[in-house]
């Protein structure tokens, strides 16, 4: 090994560099012979397994071929496996770790809403006109004479100018306009068998664009839906004209009679209030404004939040609030409450016990998954003053598009700066624009769902509920007595006026799912090394050996070409040099192209010719090379 190294080093720098200008012939002879020799030397001395067999089994052609094929096969196998390993690494797989932690838990924020935006007497003034027109519509379309709605004198309707977008009864199929057709083809709800009958009337209202060139009908199959949606549409307009301060804010005591957390009283310091245009007055307990966050150190119904709520429904807006009860939602401290998405309804006269279980998921992000850490890299401006969540982003995205397309903001989402809420008195075609936009949004033509990426860490509260009647028949008398004494609230409709809510942790251990990369750089290298070792038993140094071989090959080839070029053009008169060149080239050039494996059958042929060379008068090139380049042991076996 040592001797070989010396020999290997010798020809490289010494013979090539200094001798070439003066004695290029010798140097070339040295290298010419090395094509074969180089391979033999390489095969004998490399640390790559199997290579040695190629050489030492050369007396047996069958074996040589066998080993050559084998060597190629394992080579192929190795690179196939390498491909798989790299493919696996660059797909960035993750491992899921599930931890069941048991710890003191921060109680989540709880938002409770009244399900009725305004007390009817307070807002009657604003809704008077709309209500009277709705009554007229109900009378016209459904022969319903609204006696319970506040009866308005008939003549007042004539005083007001008619509202835009009147509710109409439509025939199916209606006289379709171009836009409507486009819309309905985009929508996928289709009637299975349109037929004519009394059911084929649809209720809807017409929406047109700015210059009334394009109109479509927003249609509903049922009058209840139609009236409610239509009323809601107008209500949005009225609402946008109202300033926030014009209506007095409700007192907590009017909606929440009792509040207890962990058996302790909770009051004004523990909640914050906001007003939702549909769900009414909402009170968020334990949000980030809370003086100190509530902690839950024990599971169970006695260690949670317990509320008694007023669900009196006499002053509901009849055409808007069709549902009685309250709506509650459990969410993270710095997340906004989307009552629509995750809300939970409470029935009046019923005690609802909601048990929670926490579950969190932490993604790795980056290359390992498409998620965002804090939303700063999402091309949507966060309109909510809260943490990034996917819903926050989607709502902001919709509002952004709304402002861009329609020039005004949708009232259910926060207001961007310098924009005002939609009102058909100012933006007379916003309804048309809004419904078009919503259709595009639902079918994701706005790209909101691709723009808004998932947050990397997600906390989820799994809710399950149980119901029981409350108060019981025997206890209701004193309960109502107490309520009327303390809160000045006389329950007229007995049970239906109150509801009770308990929210608590079912168990304090929560599931934390987290991810970790399953293939790291270290594992990849270790696997590569293992594979390399498995197929060839070699290491990084073997790769260097291979590189060296390639380098040597290229150097030899270069020298060969250089020499041939010189012998042909530079010194054509030197016959001896030319003859030697001719003699040497077929032996050297051919194997160099196909070496080592396919030519290995041809290797034994020159092999037997070598032994005679030892006894016969040695050819000039055979003895000259080693002796010139290397004095000593290299020539020793040849000479005796």
């Amino acid at each position: 090994m040592k001797g070989d190294k010396r020999e290997e080093q010798g020809p490289g720098p010494e013979t090539v560099a200094p001798q070439q200008p003066t004695e290029d012939e010798e140097a070339l002879i040295e290298f010419h012979r090395s094509y074969r020799e180089l391979f033999q030397f390489f095969c004998n001395n490399t640390t790559i397994h199997g290579a040695i067999r190629l050489v030492c089994s050369k007396h047996n052609r069958m074996k040589t071929a066998f080993w050559a094929v084998l060597w190629l096969c394992t080579f192929g196998m190795m690179y196939w496996q390498f491909g798989l390993l790299f493919g696996e690494y660059f797909s960035y797989p993750v491992n899921l770790n599930i931890n069941l932690n048991s710890d003191k838990l921060v109680f989540p924020a709880v938002t409770v809403c009244t399900l009725n935006p305004y007390r009817y007497p307070e807002i009657t003034e604003q809704l008077k006109e709309l209500d009277s027109i709705t009554q007229q519509t109900l009378l016209d379309l459904f022969k319903y004479n609204a006696s319970t709605l506040e009866a308005q004198p008939r003549h007042r309707r004539d005083v007001h100018p008619p509202l835009p977008h009147p509710l109409q009864r439509l025939r199916v199929p209606p006289p379709r306009l171009e836009a409507r057709r486009a819309r309905s083809s985009a929508s996928s709800v289709r009637d299975n068998s349109p037929e004519v009958g009394r059911k084929d009337w649809m209720i809807g209202f017409q929406l047109c664009n700015q210059n009334r060139s394009d109109c479509f009908y927003q249609r509903y199959s049922s009058g209840v839906d139609a009236v409610r949606e239509w009323y809601r549409f107008h209500y949005i307009n009225i609402l946008s004209r109202l300033s926030d301060t014009s209506l007095s804010r409700e007192q907590l005591g009017n909606f929440i009679f009792t509040c207890r957390f962990n058996q302790a009283f909770c009051g004004d310091g523990n909640y914050s209030h906001f007003h939702h245009p549909m769900y009414g007055n909402c009170y968020t307990f334990n949000d980030k404004n809370n003086s100190s966050l509530w902690m839950s150190s024990m599971p169970g119904i006695n260690n949670g939040l317990s509320l008694t709520l007023r669900t009196e429904q006499n002053d509901f807006i009849p055409l808007l609030s069709t549902v009685t009860g309250a709506r509650v939602m459990v969410h993270g401290q710095d997340e906004p409450a989307f009552m629509d998405d995750g809300g939970f309804n409470l029935r009046p006269g019923v005690e609802t016990s909601i048990s929670m279980r926490k579950e969190s998921l932490d993604r790795l992000g980056g290359d390992y998954g498409d998620c965002t850490q804090n939303g700063s890299d999402v091309p949507v401006k966060n309109l909510y003053r809260s943490k990034y969540t996917q819903q926050v982003c989607i709502h902001s995205c919709f509002q952004e598009n709304m402002v861009k397309e329609c020039g005004c903001a949708y009232i259910f989402y926060p207001l961007p700066e310098g924009v005002e809420y939609c009102d058909y008195r100012k933006h007379n075609s916003w309804g048309y624009c809004y419904y078009k936009l919503q259709d595009a949004f639902s079918s994701d033509r706005l790209g909101c769902f691709t723009k808004c990426r998932k947050p990397c860490s997600v906390t989820n509260y799994e809710l399950s509920a149980g119901y029981s009647r409350w108060p019981s028949v025997t206890s209701q008398d004193w309960v109502f007595q107490m309520l009327s004494l303390q809160n000045n609230y006389t329950v007229s409709n007995k049970r239906n006026g109150v509801a009770k809510l308990n929210i608590y942790f079912k168990e304090l251990n929560y599931k934390a799912n987290s991810e970790s990369p399953s293939v790291t750089m270290v594992t990849l290298l270790s696997n590569l090394g293992s594979q390399w070792s498995l197929w060839f038993g070699s290491s990084v140094l073997s790769v260097v050996e291979m590189a060296e071989l390639l380098f040597d090959l290229s150097v030899i080839t270069f020298l060969m070409l250089l020499r041939r070029f010189r012998s042909r053009y530079w010194s054509p008169g030197r016959g001896a040099g030319g003859a030697r060149e001719v003699a040497s080239s077929p032996v050297s050039a051919l194997p160099s192209r196909f070496c080592p494996h396919p030519t290995s059958p041809s290797v034994p042929q020159p092999g037997p010719t070598l032994p005679p060379s030892l006894t016969a008068p040695p050819p000039a090139y055979a003895t000259l090379g080693p002796c010139l380049s290397q004095s000593g042991s290299a020539c020793a076996p040849g000479e005796p």
Binding site: E37, F41, H49, G50, I52, R53, C56, K58, H59, Q81, E88, P93, L96, Y120, L138, L141, F142, Y144, S188, V189, D191, N192, S193, Q218, R219, Y220, S221, S222, G223, V224, D225, Q313, F316, P318, L319, S321, F338, D341, G342, G343, F344, L346, R347, L361, Q391, S442, S443, V458, Y467, G529, S530, L534, W535, F536, G537, S538, P604, L610, A634, P637
Partner: protein, 641 residues
Amino acid sequence: MHVKKYLLKCLHRLQKGPGYTYKELLVWYCDNTNTHGPKRIIREGPKKKAMWFLITLLFASLVCWQWGVFIKTYLSWEVSVSLSMGFKAMDFPAVTICNASPFRYSKVRHLLKDLDELMEAVLARILAPESSQANATAAMNLSMWNYTPLVLIDERDPHHPVVLDLFANDPTGSASSSPGPRGACNAQGCKVAMRLCSLNGTSCTFRNFSSATQAVTEWYALQATNIFSQVPQRELVELGYSAERLILACLFGAEPCSYRNFTSIFYPDYGNCYVFNWGMTEKALPSANPGTEFGLKLILDIGQEDYVPFLASTAGVRLMLHEQRSYPFIREEGVDAMSGTETSIGVLVDKLQRKGEPYSPCTVNGSDVPVQNLYGSYNTTYSIQACLHSCFQTQMIASCQCGHYLYPLPRGQEYCNSRDFPDWAPCYLALRMSEAERETCIRMCKESCNDTQYKMTISMADWPSEASEDWIFHVLSQERDQSTNVTLSRKGVVKLNIYFQEFNYRTIEESAANNIVWLLSNLGGQFGFWMGGSVLCLIEFAEIIIDFVWITIIKLVALAKGLRQRQAQARYAGPPPTVAELVEAHTNFGFQPDVGHRSPDAEAYPDEQALPIPGTPPPNYDSLRLQPLDVVESDSEGDAV
């Protein structure tokens, strides 16, 4: 000709052998193998040799042990799971809704007339057994119901329980069997039971109930099954609630929908059910956003006043969310919604994707399950419920010769009824109770690989509110019946909101924990770590083994030949074989070319070359072994020359 020559050559080559002896082969192997360790065995002194031999052996066994562990781990087909959770636009689930009452009482009254009268009489008897209204029952034709009569077991005297047939035609029988004070017979004392008789009433068993309500309901359901199984399904569909009556309003997102968007499906125990968004003929509807505004809103009228009194004691709507193109097993997996309320259902889609064989036992489309899928006619996908039901029906047909009314029929079979199959009821109940039969079904049916479940968060609020009640009922009545009066009531209307939650999917996906790359990497790592070996080393080893076998065979052949020759010698006792013969025997093995061929070999070559010159006798192999250190050097230079 060439082939023959070639084959002959091959034969000669094979006869010649690899050209080594055992020892030579071993030494050669140890010297030339790439596995670390064996080289040391032949290099050093005897003590170190032994030590190296032991160490090599130890490490080889370590490698074998580790390989065993890895291969065992690989063959245990472990899976790792990945979980993802969040929101994405997904296909809205198919929604199946059923009225709790299968039929409208006004339409089926004529079918159930006899049964109802009997029921009333029975109830009267249960309530007041001593004053049995003989005149009421006597008029009825009881023969039809006698197959599984209801009996009253008086257990007030635990040693002499008195069995009282509630259908007994003559009241004297009951009177004689129950003398003394009847008085108040409470539930502990008197039990209502079903008498199940088979084989023409020769072997009877009693099925006990703790409450008369349960007994009567069960018995009525059994008898009603009997009646309805004889009515063709086409007529049964007519008897149930029509979609037009049931579905008052429907809104999906902002799009209107109506009863025509629902696909009708008939259930024997729930009558007409309607599936929204089943995806059978048209594409499934997607929902892009969470919240009620983007979900399905339904207003239903269950028509409670037209319920079949003894058959449907629950009032409300039964609904179920399921995958597109899957059969809704509403009896098993449905939930109920109350009338007079708005039921909000937030949906979380829970998907479990199994890896399949051999990682976890599951089936992709049920084709490899040994149970004929009777729900195939519905053109639905495989589910384990379908398989269990089909399995039960198959068992039922095998043991009772008729199919149960609740499950689909295989070709050429018919439903059970008391007239044609008098023993079916005991047979069915026995089968239903049988633990073993259920076990076989569960064992045969495999879970499907892609399992989708819809987790629902259900909440309720009163609907309509008092303030809006009036106009809502008016509008709905006007729409349905064109009447200016309210034809609906709070007892009948149900409102459903079905929508996606803020997180609408959770996917659990299995993937192979250990793949073949992992296995090979670890095998290679261990082999490389302990012995510096690779696959090629294994092949080297295999080569040596083949050479060993080769030599052995040649030796055996030679031995056999020698034996025969010796026998021949012994038999003939003639002159010994001549030298020429022996030489011939040797030359047959082709020693002549062998020298030439063996000479280029790594070790032998220089020695062979060197030795003939002095003309010494053939080399002693011990001397060969001692030389390799020099040989390696001279070898490389010899080649270089």
